[in-house]
Symmetry: C2
Subunit: 104 residues, 2 copies
Amino acid sequence: MGFLDILGILAGLFTSSSIIPQITKTIKRKKANDVSIFMFVVLSTGNALWIYYGAEKSDMPIIATNLLALGLNVVMMVLKFRFREKENAGTGYKYDNNAGGNIW
Amino acid sequence: MGFLDILGILAGLFTSSSIIPQITKTIKRKKANDVSIFMFVVLSTGNALWIYYGAEKSDMPIIATNLLALGLNVVMMVLKFRFREKENAGTGYKYDNNAGGNIW
C-alpha cells in the first residue's frame, strides 16, 4: 500500500467518520429537530455514486470509505426517524392534563 | 470529459451539496442546537485531505467537489456559531420578568 492509498484512506476516514459526532449528539439529546434529514438522503446518494466511481476506477480507498459513510448515514437516518416524535415535545397543550387552563 | 469524469462530478455534487439542506434549515429555524459542530470540523479536515489526494492523482472531480464542500462547510460552521446564543432560549428563568415566581 503506497502513500496515496494511505492518504486516500485517511481522507475518507475523516469524511466518513464525521457523522459519528452527530450520531453521538443525537443519542445524547434524544432529538434531532434541527438536523436536516435531506442532508443525509442526498449524502447517501452521493456515497453510492462514489462507490460506483471507485469501482470503475478500481480505487480502493474511495470504495471502502464511502461504504463506511453509507452505513453511518443509515444509522443517522434511523435515529432521526426514531426521535421524530420529539418535534413538538414541551408544548403538550393537547394531551397534557397538567396544562394550566381548562381545555374547554 | 469522459463518463468517469461525469460520474465523479455527479457523485461529488451530491456529497458536497448535501450540506445545503442543512444550511437552509438552520437559516429558517435560526438555531442549530441539535447539530454537531464537530461533524463539520472533521468533515472539513477530510475535504482538505481529499483535495490533497485529488491533486496527487490529478483527479479533477475529487478536487473540484471537495473545494465546494469545504466552502459550504465553512458557511455551516459560521451559521452554527452565529446562532449559538439560542442554546438556552425558552428557559428564561433568570432574566424573564414574567416568570411565575418572585426571584427573591
